[in-house]
Amino acid sequence: MEQEFSEKNGWIVITFRGDIDFNSSPDARKVLLAAVARERDVLVDLSAVTYIDSSGIASLIEAYQGAKAKDRRFALVGIGGAVMRVLKLAHLDRVFTIHPTLADAGYR
């Protein structure tokens, strides 16, 4: 898994690439929680994520709850079929805010 972290105009965008699984989810969790700790709105770009498992979903949940506690927006961007399948299995497709692209999320 690769990750990129960028901050612009009050937004933090985290881009993940590859598989977020039990091997890589601890790293994903660290960067997600670090982003939430900065008290900005967070967008998580998953358009290049090829696989996510329950541990990856757990990291997203934890970050989402952290953002919510700080009254910050937390949204997922670019959900592909494989990731959406897992979100639906977890009944989270209606819980997370999901945008097709960063532009749709209002990120400029």
Partner: protein, 142 residues
């Protein structure tokens, strides 16, 4: 337990209980399911379940001890694919393996739910001699 003659072995994989081997395992499972004629959606569901089961063994069975061993047997039984995971970790009490209610939004406990949601059957069977656990998951080929 006697060998069921109606089961055709597809592949057997022996892997260390290491998280960095999960991707390799997923690739084998994906290819085995594709070779057996599963649809893309069925293949991805199988990968989800087998991955979760392996991750559970690594985390809860071996407590991330990389010296642990996991055996994955993939077999065909008619129109079903059988995924049998054998480990040598702590014995599991099947009564304690329960999916958590999805109404609670919390990070953990989703793996068992995923397995039960996508597989047609998932049960602990008597393990082979010397092994601790045998989890058999069954998926009808679609």
């Amino acid at each position: 337990m006697s060998q069921d003659d109606s089961q055709t072995p597809i592949i057997e994989l022996v892997m260390p209980a290491r998280a960095d081997r999960l991707r390799l395992m997923r690739n084998v499972v994906r290819d085995a399911a594709e070779m057996s004629g599963c649809t893309p959606d069925c293949i991805e569901d199988i990968v989800i379940a087998v991955n979760e089961a392996c991750a559970n063994i690594i985390q809860h069975g071996y407590h991330r001890d990389p010296n642990g061993k996991i055996i994955l047997e993939i077999r065909r039984r008619g129109e079903d694919l059988l995924f049998r995971l054998i480990d040598f970790a702590e014995r599991v009490d099947p009564a304690t393996v329960r999916p958590r209610p999805l109404g609670e939004l919390r990070p953990g406990g989703l793996g068992t739910h995923f397995i039960r949601s996508v597989m047609d059957e998932a049960e602990f069977l008597p393990p082979p001699d010397g092994a601790s656990n045998l989890l058999q998951m069954v998926k009808r080929i679609r």
